[in-house]
Amino acid sequence: MPTLTIDGQQVTVSKGATIMQAAEALGIYIPRYCYHPGLRVAGSCRMCLVEIEKAPKLDIACYRQAAEGMVVHTTTEPVKLARQSILEFLLSNHPLDCPVCDQSGECDLQNFYMEFGLYQSRFLENKIKRRKAFPIGRHVMLDNERCILCSRCVRFCEEVSRSHELGIVNRGDRSEIALREGSQLDNEYSGNVIDICPVGALTEREFRFQCRVWYLNRAASVCPGCSRGCNIELHYNVNRPHQSGGKRVLRLKPRFNAEVNKWWMCDEGRYGFEFIDAPSRLQDFEIRTAQRTVVASREQAVQTLSDWIGDSIDRHGSQSLGIFLSPKLSNEDLYGIGKFARHVGIDCLDFRNPSERPGYQDDFLIQADKNPNTRGCLELGLYRRSEDSGGWMAGEIQRGKVRVLIVFLQDLALAPEFQQVLGRLERLVFVGSNRNGTAEIASLVVPSATYAEKDGSFTNFEGRAQRFERAVVPLGSAVAEADLVASVAVSFGMQREEFERERLLSDLRREYPFFDQEALNPPELEWVYQTPIGQERL
């Protein structure tokens, strides 16, 4: 347990910790390019040079281990001069395409140069030309001129994805990043190299030229792509809508969580946000009769739905109502719906779509269950325990017991069990964010908000409940599911306040001790990779 002094502050760290880690513990930021906490130390960029008393020369903080009694300085003149020289060296062959570079605004080369740069260039020599802007995988673009050879991407492919596609070829000022012969960078986690690349050498093909990063706003969220529940940030553009053609959510970035996803996320999740602004989004309430479909107001739709529910209960009892939930709903929405169901006496509930098959799974992040909140549904008990799939509800409909069915998000029309029987229903209500086969035949369609458009929480497969924040406003007339239920529930003698977000959450935590978790406290945004993008001006 060595104790050392950094910039006049004492800190005790565990044995084997580096100066970089010790400084981090003190909240002192040492500039770095090659060092990444999730990767082995390479010590190649020399940006992290610090002055250690009694040492003959400057040493790199990312590699040198802390020792008892060490006295380290990170802001002295020699250190600044070293940083300046390193930057001058890095820029000797750097193209300075900042105007066209997607990284600019969140580029560590820019950021550190602003602070320590030389500004007065001493270069007369020609720069080395290399291959620019070519795709090296499904999601990643490489620009060899911009690369500073920090080797983070190479180490990522070695150590994290273990797919070994990238390497550094040639020597001296000819060295550059290259793909292994005959391969492409398309492992399941390739997007992460874009995040860890400190400069604009690796950029995102999907995000390319969509929006300058300083126009983006950020919201803390949870990936709905699978039951791992990776912590993410939603980056959305509402400042300059024309740049991205009206699309709002433009990219997802992993958010550090030591217990869940560390610094990473998979490509499937990273690019799974398209549905938020897709043309298939439902934006209007629709009431459909045999002859025609009319667009209704929210009030009309809520009235219609309440009438149908009340009418069915009056005529056939609450047994005649069925609710098919979705494991893509948040805990709060599920809890609200369950509360309402209990109030009016609906017990015909399930969420397990019989047509759903487990997907791809690996031993790192990706889970076979592609729903973010299956565990939440299970914990809330919103299914029939005696059955092992939701198919039983088709039987209830077949027997004429269930006459009105409310489906949330799921496309039941895809399940063979249901295909036959949906036509027998008196009323089919679909609540969902995007149009699908079930929405096509539903007699009432309610547009609902996606996870980017509401606050809520998901429970991952390990039982960790995690909150996500609203980034953008619901598209069109879309409503959050709990709000819809609240509007209906008031006609059945319930209070609207019972369905307010914070109230739902606190009631949920009280009623189900399982959900009373630390992780349900509001999330905090932290910028892990680059220094934060400045949004104050916008």
């Binding site: 900042c98 105007p99 066209v100 620019k132 802007a133 030229f209 300058r212 126009y215 300059r240 740049q243």
Partner: protein, 190 residues
Amino acid sequence: MSRPKDAMNRLRDPEALSFWQRTYVPEILRGLKLTAAHFFRNLLIHIFHLAGLWKDRRGAETVQYPEEVRGYSPRLRSLHRLTKRDDGSPRCVACMMCETICPARCIYIVATEHPDPNIEKRPASFDIDLGKCVFCGFCVEVCPEDAIRMDTHILNFAAYSRQEMVWDINRLLSNEPQRVEGIGEIRKVK
């Protein structure tokens, strides 16, 4: 006329006004004399002008735009133009610097891929809403590519609708720079 210092003292201390000044009357007459002198002098000049005489003396200090214009200064910030590469395509690389700096937020750029990876990026559309522009010239100042300039000396671009005030990339590219000559000289325009 009182000396300026006296005048200042009297302004500070109204009591220091002389009796006649306090009656207003002589001071008022002095004022009227001044303006009336201008009136008659200019009237005379205009009458002579009508008779075709004294053409070199101006009866009014004002420039009769648009019949007369003054030679514009090179510092003048006039209608924008987008500069061109040798092949006529815009120099602009859609870096959005101008869009970002613009205090009126009246520049709207959509970026797209340039076929040449050495250029990489180009504007798919580039609109300036001149109805909002405050002609600060920041966009010119900030452009890293010298792709936008305000040296066309075009000042009369009023339009009948807001939509027409939005200049798109083609209109901006078609503007040409104007040579600077005779700064401040009044020229008749036919």
